[in-house]
């Protein structure tokens, strides 16, 4: 058993990497410095293990029993050798003697030697059963914890405010949610119990050995503290070589990635040779650095191997002298040497486990950072009123930070059945305005009411369900088109979906796909063009049946004829609701009941097309430009 673990680990250590590295991606040192100064957050682990604690307790008990039984096995051999074969009673424990005598003493065992064989098998079997239950329970605990952690992370990332996602990097978050979770899981799964086991083994062995012979015990365990200490020191020292090898691998992988993504540039500039030279250099560095690491590991295993064996040899020789002097028995020698051999491996590993514990701590810190980001709060009463009614913006102000106002005193009223169009430059606050309505951001001053209720008092799920919004760059889930469109209305029929798709002028396009509505969208499926994505997103929003609809420049990638067609069918559909349209196209804007012109966060013009076209201002300027061009005027 020892041998197997040792051999296996010898080779595993230099190559064992985290899951994501094995997947061929390079390790991204995600803001290591920032999180490392945080204290390891074991509170989080305890919290996550809640409900799984009994498994940890069972596993610990299993460790105790397994170790005890594994120690009993050499005892059987020792008993057979001393008591049965040689007739020595001194080495048999006091509590065992009466039982043994009552069975019929030595002669009984001599005739039924098979009992010893059965005992040996039995104890081994029990050891095996408890080893199994230990692993079983720790698997329950660690997997349960990982499940909880993943679910919490996912939910948390859905619940943090809009602002959080605007600033976070997807790659970094995904990395944390996958590989950091895995580091923590592996630690609990593989190493937590190893620490417990090492201490239990050491403790139990010491108790048993001391009870047999104090002096011999001291001799037999003499090198172990030294081995433990050197393991700590060594693994601390070797850490930087691990890092060195990882970094070299990262550099190689980065270079490779750049070469592959830039293959056109490399070829077009005829630079294959210099790229090969670059690669060779990095490949060589990686080789040298990793080899250095393996060499260090080789020396450690070789040398600590010899220390372990010298310890065994010492026990053996001192045991021989003990037997010669009559203070020790053959059984004792066999037992002691076996125990020492059993102990040396876990002791040598301890340093490595501690080094890994540090890594798990860093991962935990990074995960805690995500989990401690505040989630979206309900600022008001969380009501769920009927939202058909006037929308009133009264002197609304908003800024992403304190210094820059994005919206500055916006006031207007919309009646049910009206369409509001908004025109403005990038950064004039158009998008912020509609986001405030959905309360994706909190306004800083003024009031927004829908049908008389302040949006802050409306429960945010209710509010958003009643406001359908199509974002500028819509996101489609990687499912079929059918599933995407009916995602908010799972009970809808296929005909409802077709109807929405027709309204969004996308039905015909979808029908031309080989698999029609069952076409998979996204990474694993078909990539839709920008215009197609926008139209599918419009269909999806229509399925919400919301009284308020917002189109945030969501037809920009659709040509003007389709744009007009969509608007016509929308108008027929949403008679009593309120529609917001953000667009640059005068042809789109002119049909609205009210047009708002936003400049620098203020409404500078407000009215119908007929009114605004008569005023001097931005609206008329834009209208004139677009008119002139579409009339076939001078474009040169």
């Amino acid at each position: 058993m020892k041998k197997n673990e040792k051999k296996n680990n010898k080779k595993k250590i230099p190559i064992e990497k985290t899951e994501q590295e094995q997947n061929g991606k390079k390790a991204v040192p995600v803001e290591q410095e920032k999180t490392e100064r945080k204290k390891t957050n074991w509170k989080l682990v305890r919290e996550l293990l809640q409900g799984h604690r009994r498994y940890i307790v069972y596993a610990t008990i299993s460790v105790l029993f397994a170790t005890a039984f594994s120690y009993a096995v050499p005892y059987v051999t020792s008993f057979t050798l001393d008591y049965v074969i040689q007739g020595i009673t001194t080495s048999t424990p006091k509590f065992l003697l009466p039982i043994v005598e009552s069975l019929g003493g030595r002669s009984y065992f001599v005739n039924s030697l098979f009992l010893c064989g059965i005992a040996l098998f039995l104890f081994t079997g029990l050891n095996c059963i408890f080893t199994f239950t230990r692993r079983q329970n720790i698997a329950y605990a660690s997997e349960g914890m990982a499940e909880k952690l993943r679910n919490r992370l996912y939910r948390h990332l859905e619940d943090v405010p809009y602002d959080y996602h605007k600033h976070a990097s997807t790659g970094d978050l995904v990395q944390r949610c996958t590989s950091d979770v895995d580091t923590v899981r592996r630690f609990v799964h593989l190493q937590l119990m190893e620490i417990v086991r090492t201490f239990v083994m050491f403790g139990l062995a010491a108790v048993v050995m001391f009870s047999v012979n104090v002096k011999m015990t001291l001799i037999s365990l003499a090198f172990l503290p030294f081995l433990t200490a050197s393991s700590f020191v060594y693994f601390k020292y070797v850490q930087k070589y691990f890092t060195g090898s990882d970094e070299a691998e990262g550099a190689l992988s980065t270079m490779l990635q750049e070469n592959l993504t830039g293959v056109r540039v490399v070829r077009a500039f005829g630079q294959q040779k210099s790229e090969i030279d670059k690669f060779t250099k990095l490949n060589e560095t990686y080789r040298v650095k990793t080899y250095k690491l393996i060499k260090l590991l080789g020396f450690y295993w070789g040398l600590s191997d010899s220390v372990g064996y010298i310890q065994i040899a010492l026990s053996l020789c001192m045991g021989v002298i003990g037997v010669y002097r009559g203070t020790f028995t053959l059984g004792n020698v066999a037992m002691f040497t076996t125990y020492v051999a059993m102990l040396t491996w876990p002791v040598r590993q301890l340093g490595r486990i501690l080094a890994d514990m540090g890594k798990a701590g860093v991962s935990l810190g990074r995960l805690d950072e995500i989990l401690s980001a505040p989630v979206e709060q309900e600022p008001g009463k969380a009501l769920s009123p009927d939202l058909t009614g006037d929308i009133v913006f009264d002197n609304v102000c908003f800024g992403y930070d304190r210094y820059n106002d994005v919206l500055d005193g916006v006031t207007f009223t919309v009646k049910p059945g009206q369409t509001v169009a908004i025109l403005g430059a990038t950064g004039s606050g158009k998008t912020s305005l509609v986001h405030l309505l959905q309360r994706l951001y909190p306004r800083t001053a003024g009031s927004i009411t829908i049908a008389g209720t302040d949006v802050n008092d409306i429960e945010h799920g209710h509010l958003r369900r009643n406001i359908g919004i199509v974002l500028q760059e819509p996101f489609l889930y990687s499912r079929t088109i059918m599933e995407n469109i009916r995602i908010c209305a799972p009970c809808s029929t296929e005909d409802d979906v077709y109807c929405a798709a027709r309204t969004a002028s996308v039905h015909e396009v979808i029908e031309t796909f080989e698999q029609g509505y069952e076409t998979l969208v996204g990474e694993r499926g078909v990539t839709l063009s920008g215009g197609q994505q926008q139209r599918v997103a419009i269909a999806r929003t229509l399925m919400q049946n919301a009284p308020i609809l917002i189109f945030d420049d969501s037809m920009s990638a659709v040509d003007s004829e389709t744009d007009a067609a969509i608007r016509r069918s929308l108008l027929a559909l949403n008679q009593s609701g309120i529609t917001f349209l953000i667009s640059h196209r005068i042809t789109t804007l002119r049909e609205a009941d009210m047009i708002l012109v936003l400049e620098e966060g203020r409404i500078t013009q407000q009215g119908t097309h007929a009114e605004l076209i008569r005023q001097a201002g931005l609206y008329r300027r834009i209208a004139e430009i677009q008119d002139a061009i579409s009339d076939g005027g001078d474009v040169e």
């Binding site: 080779k11 081994t124 978050l173 590991l297 889930y477």
Partner: protein
């Protein structure tokens, strides 16, 4: 068509693939044989240890004597030191071998990647190649080097144990080893089962990663659709499945060791019983006489022989597990480039590592497409009987919808692809009669989603002409007006720009990629514009840079922003692989066709954005 990560589950081992890979190990004979020799020594000593115990028991303990204990201890120590140095040697050399194999395979594969044609890159995801080059090769070299260690050690050790046991007492050996075949069988079965479960959970794991990715990327949409609850429920279902699968896998592997050990204990128990009888009643015992020392040694062999058996089963499973990796790597190494220079051409013009530039004819830049047709291997025809004559120094613009064939024309020109029919002549000669490098050394190529490399600004500008002086680099930067922003950087030209130029804005990256072309001073220039536009300020700089580059060389522009190409000598509207409209800007506007529509639409949008923007500036100054 696209090669992607498949769910590959090898059922059996294909030895040919492994033989091929083992040849890499044999390239390093010294390493290879040192590992073998040191391993043999280690295995022999491992086998000898119980014999030392036996000797100690029989010679010292049972007769209660310490005569010769000193010598014994000394010999023991010697053996330990020998073994220790053996271990150090084999780990070090096997490690060296592993890294050498990885190095060589990577080197070979990278060379191959530099030769492979674009048909390969167009159907292969970068991630796929990355996974082969990094993790698969690591895994294989690890397998090759260390499975050698494991197989050899396990085999020798097991053999040694069996032989020693038979020598000590053949009857006892026969009885206590009776379970061995069963044990081997069960080991292999269990290992295979473990492998299956591991695959299962790995598959689920990648689905979870995908779900996280989608959850985070779509977080805002999820919010507006109020899908949080539903998404979380779906995700929980997935993690629940993952939990089940991993636990199942953990249970199988947790049962592996206990099952083996319990089975083994049957043998050990038998050895203790029968062997004990041999010690107690030498005359009557079934197995004959046995010393106490032999019994102890026997028991240690009994417990230890199961390790190598497990080990061998483990390697078999590992090989099965990495069979797919091995096949993918080998198939990558075996991929042949579609476009290959013939031997004669290599003779004359050299290859990528040793170009014979002295034999290269200079390029003037007259380009002829002579009835060129191109179709992909799947039969999809993207260019149909296309002819075009370009005089040196002219600028040709290509306009049309996505998929119309514009990029194909450019790719053919760069010889990233070759025509399936017809020919392309450069200065009157079919370019297939020259080496690829000959043409590509005279090319300048700019993607408007520019691709830069890690390193300094200087390195990047110098990319096409590694031997350029600093003065030349600065001159090039000045010509495209990139110098002001470069000097603003902390270390000027020596500023590190980060991975793929991550520390620069898109506009800045574009300027650098123009400087790169200017420095190379190519005869033929290709500009592949991106659809998205950038901020107006940099756009002006970029327009200036383009105007500068177009000067005095044959240029092809794949245009999306039509303002760029108003001065082109000829604009081609490409539709379905054919020229639909052709002429100068003015001529095409008069035709009132596709170009006219496209131009008016863009012009309208540009002017609108412009006046919205200028309105903004007006209010700002008010």
């Amino acid at each position: 068509m696209y090669i992607e990560e498949q769910d590959f589950a090898a059922k059996k081992i294909d030895w040919n693939v492994w033989k091929r890979l083992y040849r890499y190990a044999l390239q390093h004979k010294t390493l290879f044989f040192t590992v073998i020799v040191s391993l043999v020594a280690v295995a022999l000593i491992d086998i000898a240890y119980p014999l030392f115990t036996k000797y100690a028991i029989d010679q010292f303990i049972v007769p209660k004597s310490i005569d010769g204990l000193g010598k014994f201890a000394l010999l023991y120590l010697l053996i330990i030191l020998m073994q220790s140095s053996g271990v150090i040697t084999f780990i070090t050399f096997a490690g060296k071998l592993e890294m050498a194999i990885a190095y060589t395979i990577r080197q070979d594969t990278f060379l191959r990647l530099q030769e492979l044609s674009f048909s390969f890159y167009d159907r292969t995801a970068v991630g796929y190649v990355m996974a082969r080059m990094m993790s698969d090769i690591s895994r294989l070299s690890d397998m090759i080097a260390w499975s050698l260690v494991d197989v050899l050690w396990s085999f020798l050790y097991a053999l040694g144990c069996v032989i020693t046991m038979f020598v000590l007492s053949w009857k006892l050996a026969l009885i206590s080893l009776a379970v061995l075949p069963l044990l081997g069988y069960i080991s292999v079965r269990l290992q295979k089962k473990m492998l299956k479960h591991q695959r299962e959970s790995r598959k689920l794991n990648s689905r979870i990663t995908g779900a996280f990715n989608e959850g985070i990327m779509g977080a805002v949409t999820t919010k507006t659709l109020v899908r949080e609850e539903a998404n979380a429920n779906e995700f929980n279902e997935l993690t629940g499945k993952m939990k089940q699968a991993t636990i199942k896998s953990a249970l199988v592997s947790a049962s592996f060791f206990p099952i083996i050990m319990s089975l083994g204990a049957v043998g050990t128990g038998l050895a203790l019983t029968l062997g004990g009888q041999g010690v107690l009643n030498p005359e009557t015992a079934f197995i004959g006489a046995l010393t106490a020392g032999t019994l102890v040694a026997f028991i240690s062999y009994c417990t230890q022989i199961f390790d190598p058996i497990q080990q061998l089963a483990n390697i078999l499973a590992e090989m099965l597990g990495s069979q797919a990796s091995a096949e993918r790597v080998v198939s990558l190494m075996d991929t042949q480039p579609d476009i290959k220079d013939s031997d004669e051409i290599i003779q004359k013009y050299g290859d990528i590592m040793h170009p014979h530039t002295e034999n290269w004819e200079p390029i003037t830049g007259n380009i002829t497409f002579d009835h060129v047709t191109f179709q992909y291997k799947n039969g999809e025809r993207v260019l149909d009987d296309f002819s075009l004559d370009v005089k040196a120094g002219q600028t040709i613009a290509l306009v049309g919808e996505t998929g119309a064939g514009k990029s194909t024309i450019v790719n053919l020109l760069c010889r990233f692809y070759e025509p399936t029919e017809g020919e392309i002549r450069i200065d009157g000669t079919d370019y297939r009669k020259r080496s690829q490098l000959w043409l590509q050394s005279s090319l300048g190529y700019v993607l408007q989603t520019p691709h830069l490399f890690s390193g300094t600004i200087k390195d990047n500008i110098r990319f096409g002409k590694p031997d350029a002086t600093d003065e030349e680099v600065m001159e090039a930067a000045r010509l495209v007006h990139a110098e002001p922003f470069i000097l603003q950087q902390e270390q000027g030209y020596d500023t590190e720009i980060g991975e793929s130029g991550a520390r620069l804005s898109t506009g800045q990256k574009q300027l650098l990629s123009f400087a790169r072309v200017v420095l190379k001073n190519p005869r033929i220039f290709v500009l592949d514009e991106a659809t998205s536009s950038i901020d107006t300020e940099t756009e002006q700089l970029i327009q200036n840079a383009i105007t500068h580059i177009l000067n005095n060389r044959t240029s092809f522009i794949v245009a999306h922003r039509l303002s760029t190409i108003r001065t082109a000598d000829r604009i081609l509207v490409i539709r379905n692989g054919k020229i639909q409209e052709s002429g100068t800007h003015e001529e095409l506007l008069k035709q009132r066709g596709y170009y006219y529509d496209l131009y008016t639409q863009q012009f309208c949008e540009d002017r609108t954005v412009e006046s919205l923007g200028s309105a903004k500036q007006e209010t700002a100054t008010e």
